[in-house]
Symmetry: C2
Subunit: 96 residues, 2 copies
């Protein structure tokens, strides 16, 4: 059992009204240091077996077929850093 993450974001040249609405809200709430927001989707996928090269390639195929619209979206696939880790509210995760 392993966990694979698929991040799906609109391509940079595609207009993102959701992100723009969030940006406006940031400024209204006083977070003036925010200069841009893009909103996308994140999928946490549990797979049988290890998250090896073959599994990641299979999940990339799945992402292109099912999770993302390749016309307007890009995606990335990577093994979860800590399978089984739960997100905690407000946790800060340094990422080298």
């Amino acid at each position: 059992m392993a966990r694979v993450i698929v991040d799906v974001m609109l391509k940079p040249e595609i207009h993102d009204p959701q992100g723009e609405a969030v940006l406006g809200a940031c400024h209204r709430l006083g977070f003036g240091q925010v200069s841009g927001v893009r909103q996308g989707k994140r999928f946490e996928i549990e797979i049988d077996g290890p998250a090896g090269e073959a599994s990641l390639a299979a999940i990339a195929g799945l992402a292109g077929e099912l999770l993302a619209n390749p016309v307007i979206e890009d995606f990335s696939v990577h093994a979860a850093e800590l399978p089984g880790r739960r997100h905690s509210p407000g946790s800060l995760r340094a990422c080298g």
Copy 2:
């Protein structure tokens, strides 16, 4: 200028019908090795200045106030690994 990522996922105990629909579709498409799917949101936030501890704490406050519903969702905040990096379709990103 730096980029900060906020991942927002439903708490583990919260039912995720979107994820279950994706799981069913995975199996119908022949991806039988997938045993679970959870769907959440990903925000890419551009901020003025570096993504230091203070900036990450501010973005965590923003996430709790605006991006996530703390009653049903958890979130994590981390600096983007490569600010300015663009997602490429099908890219595989190994993550230690």
